[in-house]
Structure formats: C-alpha cells, structure tokens
C-alpha cells in the first residue's frame, strides 16, 4: 500500500498540467472574437460574394410577419439591427419557432440571395411568462 516516490509518479501531475493548459488554450482560441459561435446577418452580408456557398452559422431574429409555410419549405426573413436576408429551410421546425424569436441557422448564402439553411435552432427567450397571463394580454390563439 505505502510505496516510495517513484520517477513514474511525477508523470501524472506533469501530463495533467499540460492537458489543462491545452484545454484552456482551446477554450480561449475557439471563443475569441475572431471565431465566434455564430455570425450576425450584417457580418455575413459584409463578407460579400466571398461568403457565397460557404457553410456558416448565423444568429438572427425572425422578422415579424415574414414566415411563409408551404408543404416542403419554410421561408422567412432573418434580421438583425442593420441587415436582413431571406431564408429557406426544409427540416424539422422547433416548437417555439415564431415571429421575433432568435434563431441559429446553419447553411450557406446562395447566389440567389437566399440563405439555404439545413439546421434551424430556436434560442429560447431569457424570460418566462405564465400562459394564463399571456392569454389575458392577447386573447388570440
């Protein structure tokens, strides 16, 4: 049970420290301003034609009244403070997707100036509201 200090036993803290530093470096690298989790609409549009066909992730808001549902495709306009772009999406739509919800889109901006998304995630609002109160304020279903 009680063994002396061996040379081998020093590998653990050294390897451990290296692993922790590596993880720390990865966190810092992957989340620094130049490589954010998602672009904004304005940032994507500012890239111009270079961005066409490149796979990107975009964080945007669904413009009020822009949602059009057809049999296969969901179309809407994604906006931020200054930019806007049309989006087409053909997959499963999250439950809370509606006007003015923040969404994360993955896909590419095409030559037809439509963002073809194959991933649509809804960012849940950072506030909770009682359903009963919400119905009182807005009786429409």
């Amino acid at each position: 049970m009680v063994g002396g200090t061996t040379r081998r036993s020093y590998r653990f803290p050294i390897l451990g420290a290296i692993a922790i530093l590596a993880v720390g470096f990865l966190i810092w690298r992957s989340t620094s301003a130049t490589s954010a989790y998602a672009l904004t609409v304005s940032e994507l549009l500012a890239r111009g034609d270079v961005a066409q066909g490149q796979r990107v992730r975009v964080l945007a808001k669904v413009e009020q009244g822009s949602i059009q549902r057809s049999a296969e495709t969901l179309r809407f306009t994604a906006v931020d403070a200054t930019g806007q772009m049309k989006v087409a999406y053909g997959g499963v739509v999250p439950d809370i997707f509606k006007d003015n919800v923040d969404v994360v889109l993955e896909g590419s901006y095409g030559r037809d100036r439509v963002f073809a998304a194959d991933v649509l995630l809804a960012k849940c609002p950072s506030k909770f509201e009682s359903q009963a109160d919400a119905e009182l304020a807005d009786p429409s279903p």
């Binding site: 009680v2 063994g3 200090t5 989340t31 989790y37 904004t40 999250p94 994360v104």
Partner: protein, 253 residues
C-alpha cells in the same frame, strides 16, 4: 459493533468511527437526510404542479427548476473542492482531502445531471440535443476536468500522492466554473441570457418561488450527500489505517 474488544485494543483517534464527533456527524446526516427528502418532494410539487405553465415553451420549461439548481450544485461543489484543496495543500491532513474528494464526486454527478437535463430541454425548445455553443462546450469541458480529477486519484500510486495531485487539479480546474457561468454574457450563444439579473427576475412570482425553493432543496441534498460521503471516507481511512497496523503487528509478531 460485533466485537468491541478489538475496537478498544486500538488507540482512539480524533473523529474515529466511535468518537463523539463521528456520532454527531451521523446524527446530522440523518437530520439533513429527512430535511432534504421533504424539501425535494415539495420542490417537485412546486415545479410540476404549482408553477404556472410557460407561455412560449409549455411544459418543457419546467425542467428549469431542476436544470439550474443542478448547475448551482455543481458550481457549489467545485467551489468546496477548491477550498478543501487549498486546505489540504496547506495543512496536509486527511480531513481536507476527504472533503475535496467527496465534493468532487458530488459535483461531477450534478454536472452530469445538468448536461442531461439541459439536453432533454434543448431537444423540444431549441430543436437539438446538443450544439457546440460556448456555454455547452465549456460545461462539457467542466465535466471532463472533474472526471480527470477523480481518475487521477484512482491512478495515483499512493493515497497521499493522489490527494496532492488532485488538490492541484482541484484548484486549477475551478478556473472553468466562472467561464461557464459567464459564457452567455461574454459570447453569442444558443443558451439564453440569465433569467435572473440584479435588476430582478424575468418571470412571474410563483415561478420564482418554485425556483428558489428548488435551489434550497438541492442545497440541503448537497449537505446530506456531503455528510454521508465524508463519513464513508472517514470509515475507509480508519479501515486502511487499521489494516496497516495489523499488517505491521503481524510482521513483527
């Protein structure tokens, strides 16, 4: 208890299983066990029945009352690991190490619960089980850090070495906790910003009450788990010591 003569023949140590400190600890553990059980039952009722349905998310939002307290407990547990690790490196007494190890295990358990409940919540509301967003990624890294922390202890050649290395990891590893907590403030994420801010909580009073009650119930559960887990550590420590004594005595006799 079966053979008290053996217990008497070995000198009593501070906080040995038969000391008064240990007996007070056992009684406290039982008390907190009952309190935690009652509080968790009430918290479950408040979360599932009493709190109103959320307008945007529906029933899925009720995971909030378990998800956020799990995260809180993980952070609390890792903070205790940090303090106990500093205590161990300073004093080198087995008590600090027992607290650090126990809290590390409980913290890893609640980090796992935080990741699992978050994933279950994310599927209906976001539309995905997982996304490599900064908060989720740093949370997963947190899980790996403390998994490594426990593995390091298991692989170390002696208990004392394991305790020393783990204490270093327990201090450095805590760096990730504020990063996870502030991820939504620092970077663009899929995860929502904090619902409770210094200005007030963006939710109805009943929801806030259910949430705060759940936080309290989880905290009681942590205290109960800690008392029990540290008790097991203490028993194990004395068992190992006694084994060494017997082995030593046998070699000489």
């Amino acid at each position: 208890m079966a053979d008290t003569r053996i217990v008497r023949s070995i000198p009593a140590h501070a906080a040995s299983p038969t000391s008064s400190v240990a007996r007070v600890g056992d009684r406290l553990a039982r008390l907190f066990g009952v309190l935690a059980l009652l509080a968790m039952a009430v918290a479950t009722y408040l979360a599932l029945v009493y709190a109103p349905q959320d307008a945007a998310q529906g029933p899925a939002q009720r995971i909030f009352y378990f998800h956020v307290p799990s995260a809180w407990l993980a952070f609390l547990a890792f903070f205790v690991v940090l303090v106990a690790s500093v205590g161990y490196l300073w004093k080198r007494t087995p008590g600090w190490d027992a607290v650090a190890r126990s809290s590390g295990e409980i913290g890893l358990l609640f980090t796992t619960l935080m990741l699992v409940t978050g994933s279950i919540w994310g599927k209906p509301v976001w539309g995905t089980w997982w996304s490599w967003d900064p908060m989720l990624t740093t949370s997963l890294i947190l899980w790996f850090i403390y998994l490594g922390y426990l593995m390091l202890r298991a692989y170390a050649p002696t208990r004392e070495q394991g305790a020393r290395y783990a204490a270093v990891v327990g201090i450095i590893g805590f760096v990730d906790v504020p990063i996870v907590y502030l991820a939504t403030t620092w970077w663009r994420t899929l995860h929502p910003e904090k619902v409770i801010k210094p200005e007030g909580a963006a939710m109805p009073g009943e929801m806030l009450f259910a949430f705060l009650f759940s936080l309290g119930a989880f905290t009681l559960l942590y205290i109960y788990f800690m008392l029990q887990r540290v008790r097991i550590e203490r028993l194990q420590y004395h068992l190992e010591e006694r084994e060494d004594e017997l082995a030593f005595g046998g070699a000489n006799g």
